[in-house]
Protein backbone atom coordinates (compact mmCIF):
# COMPACT_ATOMS: atom_id res chain seq x y z
CA UNK A 1 0.00 0.00 0.00
CA UNK A 2 2.89 2.32 0.49
CA UNK A 3 3.66 4.67 -2.33
CA UNK A 4 6.95 4.20 -0.67
CA UNK A 5 10.16 5.43 -1.82
CA UNK A 6 10.24 7.84 -4.63
CA UNK A 7 13.81 8.97 -4.16
CA UNK A 8 14.19 12.71 -4.42
CA UNK A 9 17.70 12.48 -5.76
CA UNK A 10 19.28 14.10 -2.73
CA UNK A 11 21.73 12.54 -0.35
CA UNK A 12 20.40 14.10 2.84
CA UNK A 13 19.01 12.50 5.97
CA UNK A 14 16.57 9.73 5.12
CA UNK A 15 13.07 10.85 6.05
CA UNK A 16 9.91 8.72 5.89
CA UNK A 17 6.91 10.97 5.37
CA UNK A 18 3.73 9.14 6.39
CA UNK A 19 0.38 10.32 5.02
CA UNK A 20 -2.83 8.64 6.09
CA UNK A 21 -5.77 11.08 5.86
CA UNK A 22 -8.10 10.86 2.90
CA UNK A 23 -8.22 14.66 3.00
CA UNK A 24 -4.48 15.04 2.40
CA UNK A 25 -4.19 15.84 -1.30
CA UNK A 26 -1.37 14.90 -3.64
CA UNK A 27 -0.54 18.61 -3.96
CA UNK A 28 -0.19 18.82 -0.20
CA UNK A 29 2.07 15.77 -0.15
CA UNK A 30 4.24 17.35 -2.84
CA UNK A 31 4.46 20.55 -0.81
CA UNK A 32 5.47 18.57 2.32
CA UNK A 33 8.14 16.71 0.36
CA UNK A 34 9.48 19.96 -1.05
CA UNK A 35 9.63 21.53 2.41
CA UNK A 36 11.44 18.61 4.00
CA UNK A 37 13.77 18.28 1.04
CA UNK A 38 14.65 21.96 1.30
CA UNK A 39 15.54 21.31 4.94
CA UNK A 40 18.03 18.65 3.92
CA UNK A 41 15.91 15.51 3.93
CA UNK A 42 16.05 12.66 1.45
CA UNK A 43 12.31 12.17 1.58
CA UNK A 44 10.34 9.01 0.77
CA UNK A 45 6.58 8.92 1.07
CA UNK A 46 4.70 6.16 2.84
CA UNK A 47 1.16 6.51 1.55
CA UNK A 48 -1.33 4.91 3.90
CA UNK A 49 -4.33 6.88 2.64
CA UNK A 50 -7.54 4.95 2.00
CA UNK A 51 -8.70 4.85 -1.58
CA UNK A 52 -12.14 5.69 -2.92
CA UNK A 53 -12.89 8.55 -0.51
CA UNK A 54 -13.59 12.06 -1.73
CA UNK A 55 -10.82 14.22 -0.25
CA UNK A 56 -13.04 17.30 -0.54
CA UNK A 57 -15.79 15.82 1.67
CA UNK A 58 -16.30 17.78 4.90
CA UNK A 59 -18.41 15.71 7.26
CA UNK A 60 -19.73 17.16 10.53
CA UNK A 61 -17.26 17.76 13.33
CA UNK A 62 -18.28 14.73 15.41
CA UNK A 63 -17.98 12.50 12.36
CA UNK A 64 -14.57 13.96 11.62
CA UNK A 65 -13.42 13.17 15.16
CA UNK A 66 -14.62 9.58 14.80
CA UNK A 67 -12.95 9.40 11.41
CA UNK A 68 -9.62 10.45 12.85
CA UNK A 69 -9.78 7.59 15.33
CA UNK A 70 -10.94 5.03 12.77
CA UNK A 71 -8.65 6.12 9.96
CA UNK A 72 -5.70 6.23 12.34
CA UNK A 73 -6.33 2.67 13.49
CA UNK A 74 -6.76 1.49 9.90
CA UNK A 75 -3.63 3.29 8.76
CA UNK A 76 -1.65 1.63 11.54
CA UNK A 77 -2.68 -1.75 10.09
CA UNK A 78 -1.78 -0.72 6.56
CA UNK A 79 1.99 -0.77 6.90
CA UNK A 80 3.46 -3.12 4.28
CA UNK A 81 6.94 -4.60 4.08
CA UNK A 82 8.35 -1.72 2.00
CA UNK A 83 6.94 0.84 4.37
CA UNK A 84 8.29 -0.98 7.41
CA UNK A 85 11.74 -1.29 5.85
CA UNK A 86 11.71 2.42 5.12
CA UNK A 87 10.65 3.29 8.68
CA UNK A 88 13.48 1.14 10.03
CA UNK A 89 16.07 2.70 7.73
CA UNK A 90 14.91 6.30 8.20
CA UNK A 91 16.46 8.72 10.65
CA UNK A 92 13.18 10.59 10.97
CA UNK A 93 9.59 9.39 10.52
CA UNK A 94 7.18 12.28 10.05
CA UNK A 95 3.41 12.06 10.52
CA UNK A 96 2.01 14.44 7.92
CA UNK A 97 -1.61 14.42 9.16
CA UNK A 98 -3.65 13.38 12.18
CA UNK A 99 -4.41 9.77 11.27
CA UNK A 100 -0.74 9.32 10.41
CA UNK A 101 0.16 10.00 14.04
CA UNK A 102 -1.45 6.73 15.08
CA UNK A 103 0.37 4.89 12.30
CA UNK A 104 3.72 6.42 13.21
CA UNK A 105 3.16 5.70 16.91
CA UNK A 106 2.74 2.04 15.94
CA UNK A 107 6.32 1.97 14.66
CA UNK A 108 7.89 2.89 17.99
CA UNK A 109 8.73 -0.74 18.76
CA UNK A 110 10.52 -1.53 15.53
CA UNK A 111 12.41 1.60 14.58
CA UNK A 112 14.88 3.77 16.41
CA UNK A 113 14.10 6.76 14.18
CA UNK A 114 12.88 10.04 15.61
CA UNK A 115 9.09 9.98 15.37
CA UNK A 116 7.64 13.43 14.91
CA UNK A 117 4.19 14.91 14.53
CA UNK A 118 3.90 17.36 11.68
CA UNK A 119 6.10 18.67 8.91
CA UNK A 120 7.28 21.73 10.92
CA UNK A 121 8.59 19.37 13.60
CA UNK A 122 10.18 17.29 10.85
CA UNK A 123 11.98 20.34 9.55
CA UNK A 124 13.19 21.16 13.07
CA UNK A 125 14.49 17.64 13.56
CA UNK A 126 16.58 17.99 10.40
CA UNK A 127 18.35 21.13 11.59
Amino acid sequence: MSRAAQPTGTTGTLVALVVAASTTTDDAVDAFVATLTAAGGDVRVVDLRPTGIDPQARPPRVVRAVNVVRSGARAARRWDADGRALAVAARVVVAADRPAVRAVWATRGWTSAALVNGVPAGVRSLR
Partner: protein, 437 residues
Protein backbone atom coordinates in the same frame (compact mmCIF):
# COMPACT_ATOMS: atom_id res chain seq x y z
CA UNK B 1 21.25 57.17 48.22
CA UNK B 2 17.77 55.79 47.68
CA UNK B 3 17.03 52.20 46.75
CA UNK B 4 15.74 51.80 43.21
CA UNK B 5 12.16 50.60 42.90
CA UNK B 6 11.78 46.95 41.95
CA UNK B 7 9.61 45.86 39.03
CA UNK B 8 8.47 42.28 38.63
CA UNK B 9 7.57 41.57 35.02
CA UNK B 10 5.51 38.45 34.30
CA UNK B 11 5.46 37.25 30.72
CA UNK B 12 5.15 33.85 29.14
CA UNK B 13 6.81 34.99 25.91
CA UNK B 14 10.16 36.70 26.35
CA UNK B 15 13.47 36.54 24.44
CA UNK B 16 14.65 34.25 22.96
CA UNK B 17 11.04 33.69 21.86
CA UNK B 18 10.50 35.35 18.49
CA UNK B 19 6.71 35.63 18.75
CA UNK B 20 5.21 39.03 17.93
CA UNK B 21 4.33 40.12 21.46
CA UNK B 22 7.92 39.68 22.59
CA UNK B 23 9.00 43.07 21.26
CA UNK B 24 6.49 44.84 23.49
CA UNK B 25 7.67 42.82 26.49
CA UNK B 26 11.28 43.60 25.72
CA UNK B 27 10.60 47.30 25.28
CA UNK B 28 8.58 47.50 28.51
CA UNK B 29 11.30 45.84 30.56
CA UNK B 30 13.99 48.03 29.02
CA UNK B 31 11.93 51.19 29.56
CA UNK B 32 11.60 50.51 33.28
CA UNK B 33 15.28 49.57 33.52
CA UNK B 34 16.35 52.81 31.86
CA UNK B 35 14.06 54.73 34.22
CA UNK B 36 16.17 53.43 37.09
CA UNK B 37 14.15 50.43 38.22
CA UNK B 38 15.56 47.09 39.27
CA UNK B 39 13.77 44.68 36.99
CA UNK B 40 13.14 40.97 37.43
CA UNK B 41 11.40 39.03 34.69
CA UNK B 42 9.73 35.70 35.32
CA UNK B 43 9.17 33.80 32.11
CA UNK B 44 9.26 30.32 30.59
CA UNK B 45 12.40 28.30 30.00
CA UNK B 46 14.39 28.84 26.82
CA UNK B 47 13.61 25.28 25.78
CA UNK B 48 9.91 26.19 25.53
CA UNK B 49 10.63 28.64 22.75
CA UNK B 50 13.33 26.56 21.10
CA UNK B 51 10.99 23.57 20.86
CA UNK B 52 7.60 25.10 20.26
CA UNK B 53 7.50 28.66 18.99
CA UNK B 54 10.90 29.23 17.45
CA UNK B 55 13.70 31.19 19.09
CA UNK B 56 15.99 34.03 18.13
CA UNK B 57 18.89 33.95 20.61
CA UNK B 58 20.08 37.38 19.42
CA UNK B 59 17.01 38.92 21.05
CA UNK B 60 18.41 38.07 24.48
CA UNK B 61 21.24 40.51 23.79
CA UNK B 62 18.65 43.29 23.59
CA UNK B 63 17.56 42.85 27.21
CA UNK B 64 18.98 45.77 29.20
CA UNK B 65 22.04 44.96 31.32
CA UNK B 66 21.13 44.34 34.93
CA UNK B 67 17.69 42.88 34.21
CA UNK B 68 17.36 39.56 36.01
CA UNK B 69 15.52 36.88 34.07
CA UNK B 70 14.10 33.99 36.09
CA UNK B 71 13.07 31.07 33.92
CA UNK B 72 10.64 28.45 35.14
CA UNK B 73 9.49 25.22 33.49
CA UNK B 74 6.45 25.28 31.27
CA UNK B 75 4.83 22.02 30.22
CA UNK B 76 2.99 22.13 26.90
CA UNK B 77 1.70 18.63 26.20
CA UNK B 78 -0.68 19.76 23.45
CA UNK B 79 2.28 21.06 21.41
CA UNK B 80 4.46 18.00 22.01
CA UNK B 81 5.68 16.74 18.63
CA UNK B 82 7.76 13.78 19.82
CA UNK B 83 5.40 10.89 19.13
CA UNK B 84 7.44 8.58 21.34
CA UNK B 85 6.25 10.62 24.29
CA UNK B 86 2.59 10.06 23.43
CA UNK B 87 0.49 7.86 25.69
CA UNK B 88 -1.61 5.08 24.25
CA UNK B 89 -4.73 7.17 24.85
CA UNK B 90 -3.32 10.13 22.93
CA UNK B 91 -2.21 8.00 20.00
CA UNK B 92 -5.34 5.90 19.72
CA UNK B 93 -8.12 8.28 20.81
CA UNK B 94 -6.80 11.80 20.16
CA UNK B 95 -10.15 13.60 20.52
CA UNK B 96 -10.69 12.00 23.94
CA UNK B 97 -7.16 12.85 25.00
CA UNK B 98 -7.63 16.45 23.87
CA UNK B 99 -10.87 16.83 25.77
CA UNK B 100 -9.43 15.39 28.97
CA UNK B 101 -6.30 17.49 28.59
CA UNK B 102 -8.33 20.66 28.15
CA UNK B 103 -10.37 19.85 31.22
CA UNK B 104 -7.24 19.21 33.24
CA UNK B 105 -5.58 22.40 31.98
CA UNK B 106 -8.45 24.55 33.19
CA UNK B 107 -8.82 23.13 36.69
CA UNK B 108 -6.84 25.87 38.40
CA UNK B 109 -7.32 28.63 35.83
CA UNK B 110 -9.69 28.88 32.86
CA UNK B 111 -7.08 29.00 30.12
CA UNK B 112 -6.37 25.87 28.07
CA UNK B 113 -2.67 24.95 27.87
CA UNK B 114 -1.60 27.71 30.26
CA UNK B 115 -3.84 27.08 33.30
CA UNK B 116 -1.39 24.66 34.97
CA UNK B 117 1.28 27.37 34.89
CA UNK B 118 -0.61 29.40 37.49
CA UNK B 119 0.87 27.58 40.47
CA UNK B 120 4.57 27.60 39.48
CA UNK B 121 4.32 31.17 38.22
CA UNK B 122 2.68 32.36 41.42
CA UNK B 123 5.31 30.56 43.50
CA UNK B 124 8.12 32.09 41.44
CA UNK B 125 6.66 35.58 41.81
CA UNK B 126 6.36 35.10 45.56
CA UNK B 127 9.95 33.85 45.76
CA UNK B 128 11.22 36.90 43.88
CA UNK B 129 9.32 39.16 46.29
CA UNK B 130 10.73 37.40 49.34
CA UNK B 131 14.26 37.71 48.02
CA UNK B 132 13.95 41.29 46.80
CA UNK B 133 10.72 43.09 47.73
CA UNK B 134 8.70 44.07 44.69
CA UNK B 135 7.15 47.53 44.34
CA UNK B 136 5.11 46.90 41.21
CA UNK B 137 4.18 43.94 39.04
CA UNK B 138 3.45 44.28 35.34
CA UNK B 139 1.86 41.21 33.79
CA UNK B 140 1.40 40.91 30.04
CA UNK B 141 -1.16 38.75 28.30
CA UNK B 142 -1.86 36.56 26.62
CA UNK B 143 -1.59 34.11 28.23
CA UNK B 144 -3.78 35.61 30.93
CA UNK B 145 -2.49 33.31 33.62
CA UNK B 146 0.20 35.95 34.24
CA UNK B 147 -2.56 38.23 35.55
CA UNK B 148 -3.54 35.59 38.09
CA UNK B 149 0.00 35.39 39.45
CA UNK B 150 0.22 39.18 39.73
CA UNK B 151 -3.12 39.19 41.52
CA UNK B 152 -1.94 36.50 43.95
CA UNK B 153 1.11 38.59 44.89
CA UNK B 154 -1.17 41.58 45.33
CA UNK B 155 -3.42 39.64 47.69
CA UNK B 156 -0.63 38.07 49.70
CA UNK B 157 1.72 41.03 49.92
CA UNK B 158 -0.16 44.09 48.72
CA UNK B 159 2.02 44.59 45.62
CA UNK B 160 0.12 46.72 43.07
CA UNK B 161 -0.10 45.30 39.57
CA UNK B 162 -0.60 46.43 35.99
CA UNK B 163 -2.47 44.28 33.48
CA UNK B 164 -1.05 44.75 29.99
CA UNK B 165 -3.47 43.43 27.38
CA UNK B 166 -1.85 42.93 24.00
CA UNK B 167 -5.09 41.32 22.83
CA UNK B 168 -8.42 40.74 24.56
CA UNK B 169 -9.64 37.89 26.73
CA UNK B 170 -13.41 37.96 26.35
CA UNK B 171 -13.56 39.58 22.93
CA UNK B 172 -12.74 38.23 19.49
CA UNK B 173 -10.85 41.18 18.05
CA UNK B 174 -11.56 40.16 14.47
CA UNK B 175 -15.31 39.58 14.70
CA UNK B 176 -16.12 41.75 17.71
CA UNK B 177 -18.00 38.81 19.24
CA UNK B 178 -17.98 38.26 22.98
CA UNK B 179 -16.28 34.92 23.63
CA UNK B 180 -17.05 34.65 27.35
CA UNK B 181 -20.04 36.15 29.13
CA UNK B 182 -19.58 37.99 32.46
CA UNK B 183 -21.00 35.05 34.44
CA UNK B 184 -18.52 32.57 32.95
CA UNK B 185 -15.35 31.58 34.80
CA UNK B 186 -13.32 33.78 32.49
CA UNK B 187 -15.76 36.64 33.02
CA UNK B 188 -15.62 36.34 36.79
CA UNK B 189 -11.82 36.09 36.79
CA UNK B 190 -11.45 39.13 34.58
CA UNK B 191 -13.86 41.14 36.69
CA UNK B 192 -11.93 40.28 39.86
CA UNK B 193 -8.56 41.07 38.28
CA UNK B 194 -9.61 44.37 36.73
CA UNK B 195 -11.17 45.48 40.02
CA UNK B 196 -7.89 44.87 41.85
CA UNK B 197 -5.49 46.17 39.19
CA UNK B 198 -3.58 49.41 39.69
CA UNK B 199 -3.70 50.08 35.95
CA UNK B 200 -4.94 48.24 32.88
CA UNK B 201 -3.20 48.84 29.54
CA UNK B 202 -4.51 48.26 26.04
CA UNK B 203 -2.88 48.53 22.62
CA UNK B 204 -5.59 50.70 21.07
CA UNK B 205 -8.51 52.92 21.97
CA UNK B 206 -11.29 50.63 20.71
CA UNK B 207 -10.08 47.89 23.04
CA UNK B 208 -9.84 50.31 25.96
CA UNK B 209 -13.32 51.65 25.25
CA UNK B 210 -14.82 48.16 25.08
CA UNK B 211 -13.31 47.20 28.42
CA UNK B 212 -14.26 50.54 29.99
CA UNK B 213 -17.84 49.83 29.03
CA UNK B 214 -17.63 46.38 30.58
CA UNK B 215 -15.95 47.61 33.79
CA UNK B 216 -16.99 51.27 34.23
CA UNK B 217 -15.67 51.49 37.78
CA UNK B 218 -12.16 50.77 36.49
CA UNK B 219 -12.35 53.05 33.44
CA UNK B 220 -10.19 55.77 35.01
CA UNK B 221 -7.39 53.25 35.54
CA UNK B 222 -7.42 52.09 31.94
CA UNK B 223 -4.82 53.47 29.52
CA UNK B 224 -3.87 53.03 25.92
CA UNK B 225 -0.21 52.09 25.53
CA UNK B 226 0.16 51.71 21.80
CA UNK B 227 2.71 49.55 20.13
CA UNK B 228 5.45 51.35 18.24
CA UNK B 229 8.52 50.83 16.15
CA UNK B 230 11.76 49.85 17.81
CA UNK B 231 14.60 52.31 17.17
CA UNK B 232 17.25 49.68 17.77
CA UNK B 233 15.77 47.49 15.04
CA UNK B 234 15.27 50.15 12.38
CA UNK B 235 17.76 52.85 11.41
CA UNK B 236 16.24 56.10 10.15
CA UNK B 237 16.06 57.50 7.61
CA UNK B 238 15.64 54.24 5.73
CA UNK B 239 17.80 54.58 2.60
CA UNK B 240 16.61 53.64 -0.85
CA UNK B 241 18.60 50.91 -2.57
CA UNK B 242 19.23 51.56 -6.27
CA UNK B 243 16.64 50.07 -8.55
CA UNK B 244 17.39 49.04 -12.09
CA UNK B 245 14.58 48.48 -14.50
CA UNK B 246 11.14 49.91 -14.98
CA UNK B 247 8.27 50.08 -12.56
CA UNK B 248 7.90 50.57 -8.84
CA UNK B 249 8.73 48.18 -6.03
CA UNK B 250 5.67 47.51 -3.87
CA UNK B 251 6.31 45.50 -0.71
CA UNK B 252 4.46 43.85 2.14
CA UNK B 253 6.21 42.75 5.32
CA UNK B 254 4.52 40.76 8.07
CA UNK B 255 3.15 37.34 8.85
CA UNK B 256 0.68 36.33 6.17
CA UNK B 257 -2.00 34.71 8.29
CA UNK B 258 -5.27 33.37 6.90
CA UNK B 259 -6.81 36.65 8.18
CA UNK B 260 -4.77 38.68 5.68
CA UNK B 261 -6.83 39.35 2.52
CA UNK B 262 -4.22 37.79 0.28
CA UNK B 263 -6.62 36.74 -2.48
CA UNK B 264 -8.06 40.25 -2.76
CA UNK B 265 -4.58 41.75 -2.73
CA UNK B 266 -3.29 39.48 -5.49
CA UNK B 267 -6.44 39.93 -7.59
CA UNK B 268 -6.22 43.69 -7.11
CA UNK B 269 -2.55 43.63 -8.10
CA UNK B 270 -3.40 41.76 -11.29
CA UNK B 271 -6.13 44.29 -12.11
CA UNK B 272 -3.85 47.23 -11.40
CA UNK B 273 -1.29 45.85 -13.87
CA UNK B 274 -3.92 45.09 -16.52
CA UNK B 275 -5.47 48.54 -16.24
CA UNK B 276 -2.11 50.31 -16.24
CA UNK B 277 -2.74 51.78 -12.79
CA UNK B 278 0.76 50.83 -11.72
CA UNK B 279 3.72 51.24 -14.09
CA UNK B 280 4.60 48.27 -16.27
CA UNK B 281 7.37 46.19 -14.75
CA UNK B 282 6.30 46.95 -11.18
CA UNK B 283 6.80 44.21 -8.62
CA UNK B 284 5.05 43.18 -5.42
CA UNK B 285 7.34 41.49 -2.89
CA UNK B 286 5.92 39.81 0.20
CA UNK B 287 8.16 39.05 3.16
CA UNK B 288 7.33 37.20 6.37
CA UNK B 289 6.13 33.83 7.53
CA UNK B 290 3.28 32.22 5.63
CA UNK B 291 0.94 31.17 8.40
CA UNK B 292 1.71 30.88 12.09
CA UNK B 293 4.43 28.27 11.77
CA UNK B 294 7.97 28.15 10.47
CA UNK B 295 6.88 26.01 7.55
CA UNK B 296 4.85 27.83 4.88
CA UNK B 297 1.13 27.21 4.87
CA UNK B 298 0.38 25.36 1.63
CA UNK B 299 -2.60 27.31 0.29
CA UNK B 300 -0.95 30.68 0.82
CA UNK B 301 2.24 29.46 -0.83
CA UNK B 302 0.24 28.18 -3.80
CA UNK B 303 -1.58 31.50 -4.19
CA UNK B 304 1.74 33.35 -4.27
CA UNK B 305 3.27 30.87 -6.68
CA UNK B 306 0.31 31.32 -9.03
CA UNK B 307 0.86 35.08 -9.03
CA UNK B 308 4.59 34.85 -9.75
CA UNK B 309 4.01 35.60 -13.44
CA UNK B 310 2.57 39.00 -12.48
CA UNK B 311 5.66 40.25 -10.75
CA UNK B 312 4.70 38.87 -7.33
CA UNK B 313 7.61 37.49 -5.36
CA UNK B 314 7.68 35.81 -1.97
CA UNK B 315 10.91 36.70 -0.15
CA UNK B 316 10.38 34.33 2.79
CA UNK B 317 10.73 35.24 6.46
CA UNK B 318 12.74 38.41 7.09
CA UNK B 319 15.03 38.41 10.12
CA UNK B 320 14.87 41.45 12.39
CA UNK B 321 18.38 42.43 11.37
CA UNK B 322 17.28 42.51 7.72
CA UNK B 323 14.15 44.58 8.14
CA UNK B 324 15.84 47.87 7.26
CA UNK B 325 17.23 46.38 4.05
CA UNK B 326 13.80 45.05 3.13
CA UNK B 327 12.20 48.48 3.48
CA UNK B 328 15.14 50.07 1.65
CA UNK B 329 14.29 48.00 -1.41
CA UNK B 330 10.68 49.24 -1.48
CA UNK B 331 9.13 52.31 -3.10
CA UNK B 332 5.60 51.74 -1.80
CA UNK B 333 4.52 49.65 1.20
CA UNK B 334 1.33 47.60 1.17
CA UNK B 335 -0.39 47.12 4.51
CA UNK B 336 -2.78 44.18 4.14
CA UNK B 337 -4.59 43.31 7.36
CA UNK B 338 -7.52 41.30 8.64
CA UNK B 339 -10.77 43.10 9.38
CA UNK B 340 -12.04 44.18 12.77
CA UNK B 341 -12.23 47.48 14.58
CA UNK B 342 -10.18 46.10 17.48
CA UNK B 343 -7.33 44.86 15.28
CA UNK B 344 -4.00 46.60 15.66
CA UNK B 345 -1.03 45.91 13.46
CA UNK B 346 2.44 45.92 14.94
CA UNK B 347 3.91 46.48 11.50
CA UNK B 348 2.10 49.75 10.80
CA UNK B 349 4.49 51.62 13.07
CA UNK B 350 7.49 50.36 11.12
CA UNK B 351 5.70 51.27 7.90
CA UNK B 352 5.38 54.85 9.10
CA UNK B 353 9.02 54.93 10.19
CA UNK B 354 10.14 53.58 6.82
CA UNK B 355 8.96 56.82 5.25
CA UNK B 356 7.30 55.33 2.18
CA UNK B 357 3.81 55.81 0.75
CA UNK B 358 1.44 53.21 2.18
CA UNK B 359 -1.39 51.39 0.42
CA UNK B 360 -3.75 50.43 3.26
CA UNK B 361 -5.54 47.23 2.25
CA UNK B 362 -7.80 46.70 5.23
CA UNK B 363 -11.24 47.40 6.58
CA UNK B 364 -11.40 51.21 7.11
CA UNK B 365 -12.91 50.51 10.55
CA UNK B 366 -9.73 48.71 11.59
CA UNK B 367 -7.96 50.36 14.57
CA UNK B 368 -4.88 50.75 12.38
CA UNK B 369 -6.65 53.50 10.46
CA UNK B 370 -6.18 55.80 13.45
CA UNK B 371 -2.42 55.22 13.45
CA UNK B 372 -2.26 56.30 9.83
CA UNK B 373 -4.63 59.26 10.26
CA UNK B 374 -1.80 61.83 10.14
CA UNK B 375 0.22 60.00 7.49
CA UNK B 376 0.51 62.29 4.44
CA UNK B 377 1.06 59.50 1.91
CA UNK B 378 -1.67 56.89 2.37
CA UNK B 379 -3.87 55.35 -0.30
CA UNK B 380 -6.84 53.76 1.44
CA UNK B 381 -9.40 51.27 0.17
CA UNK B 382 -13.08 51.95 0.79
CA UNK B 383 -13.66 48.20 0.95
CA UNK B 384 -11.39 45.19 0.59
CA UNK B 385 -12.32 44.24 -2.97
CA UNK B 386 -10.02 43.61 -5.96
CA UNK B 387 -11.31 46.75 -7.71
CA UNK B 388 -10.67 48.95 -4.71
CA UNK B 389 -7.29 47.37 -4.08
CA UNK B 390 -6.32 48.04 -7.71
CA UNK B 391 -7.45 51.65 -7.43
CA UNK B 392 -5.51 52.16 -4.18
CA UNK B 393 -2.37 50.57 -5.65
CA UNK B 394 -2.63 53.05 -8.50
CA UNK B 395 -3.00 55.89 -6.01
CA UNK B 396 0.03 54.56 -4.14
CA UNK B 397 2.03 54.66 -7.37
CA UNK B 398 1.01 58.29 -7.90
CA UNK B 399 2.01 59.19 -4.35
CA UNK B 400 5.41 57.57 -4.81
CA UNK B 401 6.18 59.58 -7.94
CA UNK B 402 6.21 62.95 -6.25
CA UNK B 403 6.97 63.00 -2.52
CA UNK B 404 7.22 66.63 -1.42
CA UNK B 405 9.73 67.83 1.18
CA UNK B 406 6.75 68.87 3.31
CA UNK B 407 5.36 65.31 3.27
CA UNK B 408 8.78 63.91 4.15
CA UNK B 409 9.02 66.33 7.06
CA UNK B 410 5.53 65.51 8.36
CA UNK B 411 6.26 61.82 8.06
CA UNK B 412 9.46 62.17 10.07
CA UNK B 413 7.57 63.97 12.85
CA UNK B 414 4.88 61.28 12.88
CA UNK B 415 7.50 58.52 12.96
CA UNK B 416 9.20 60.11 15.96
CA UNK B 417 5.91 60.25 17.84
CA UNK B 418 5.32 56.54 17.15
CA UNK B 419 8.60 55.23 18.55
CA UNK B 420 7.81 52.48 21.01
CA UNK B 421 9.65 54.16 23.86
CA UNK B 422 7.45 57.25 23.40
CA UNK B 423 4.34 55.12 23.93
CA UNK B 424 5.65 53.64 27.15
CA UNK B 425 7.24 56.76 28.62
CA UNK B 426 4.09 58.41 30.10
CA UNK B 427 3.09 55.28 32.02
CA UNK B 428 6.63 54.51 33.20
CA UNK B 429 7.02 58.09 34.43
CA UNK B 430 3.65 58.07 36.19
CA UNK B 431 4.29 54.73 37.87
CA UNK B 432 7.80 55.77 38.91
CA UNK B 433 6.34 58.84 40.60
CA UNK B 434 3.58 56.85 42.30
CA UNK B 435 6.01 54.28 43.68
CA UNK B 436 8.34 57.01 44.95
CA UNK B 437 5.60 58.55 47.08
Amino acid sequence: MTTPPHLLYLAWGFPPSRAGGVYRALATVNAFASAGWDVTVVTAQRETFERFTGADPSLEDRVAPGVEVVRIPFEWPAQETDIRRYSRLRATLPPVWSRLRRRRDTVSFPEPSYGPWRRPLTAAAQAVHERHPVDLTVATANPHVTFAAAHALHRSSGVPFVMDYRDAWRLDVFTGAVTAVPRSRVGRWESRLVAAAHEVWFVNEPLRAWHAEQYPSAAARMHVVENGWDPDLLTLPVPRTPHEGPGLRFAYLGTVTPKVPLDELLAGWQLALERGLVPAGSTLTLGGHLGYFAVPQGRLAEALADAAGSGVRYAGPVAKAEVSAFYAAADVLVLALGSGRYVTSGKVYEYVAAGRPVVAVHDPANATTAVLAEHPLVARVAAVTPDEVARALGEGATLARDVSPDATERLAVLATSLRRDRQLAPRVEALTEQVAR
